[in-house]
Symmetry: C2
């Protein structure tokens, strides 16, 4: 018998966690949802809140989040006509968990970017 037993049978990757990371495992998505939760509502506001994202990627992510029914996109009558983004109820329900993730990160990850 090998000293390390085969652990295939008694482990599995929880399907619901896998499902969560189909959305949250894509770069920027957690930050976009967090920024919407903090009050950003315009494309420009989101771009500034989520530093470093390009316009093309932000557009794509917002479309994916709308497809997943986490973000609502509304046309605001003008002039000038504008577009406003907000979280759906499903998206709102993620916010308290994102706050816990942030608290965990503050306590358990080092921000290696700083001195």
């Amino acid at each position: 018998m090998a000293p390390i037993e085969d652990d295939a049978e008694h482990t599995h990757c929880d399907a619901s966690v896998t499902l969560a990371f189909t959305v949250l495992g894509k770069r920027w998505n957690g930050m976009i949802i967090s920024a919407l939760g903090n009050g950003a509502s315009t494309f420009g506001g989101l771009r500034r809140a989520v530093g470093g994202i390009s316009d093309a990627v932000l557009s794509e992510r917002l479309a994916e989040l709308a497809e997943a029914q986490l973000v609502d996109r509304a046309v605001v009558p003008g002039p000038p006509v504008g577009v406003s983004y907000r979280l759906t109820d499903s998206g709102e329900r993620l916010l308290p968990i994102l706050i816990q993730l942030g608290e965990w990160a503050s306590g358990n990850l080092s921000a290696s970017r700083g001195g």
Copy 2:
């Protein structure tokens, strides 16, 4: 005045959430941590638990998670010599939040892969 106000000043992307997604925003990392929490401890066990990941990417992710001090790697004396992985205390502290993320996903995301 524009009908959509500039929301740059009163919003920001919470730095701690951004920090959390430096780790969790990379594909597979959440699932690897979840699989370790569910009892996987060998490279092969992790590969099976996290379906679809390649050996090269799993190696790279485990090295990054060890660098972030979320995963410990131990050599198990043989023969045959083996390597065992487990969560550090910091990694363990993420597990209850991953469970909440899974519950949120179950209730709020549709698994578009199935019928």
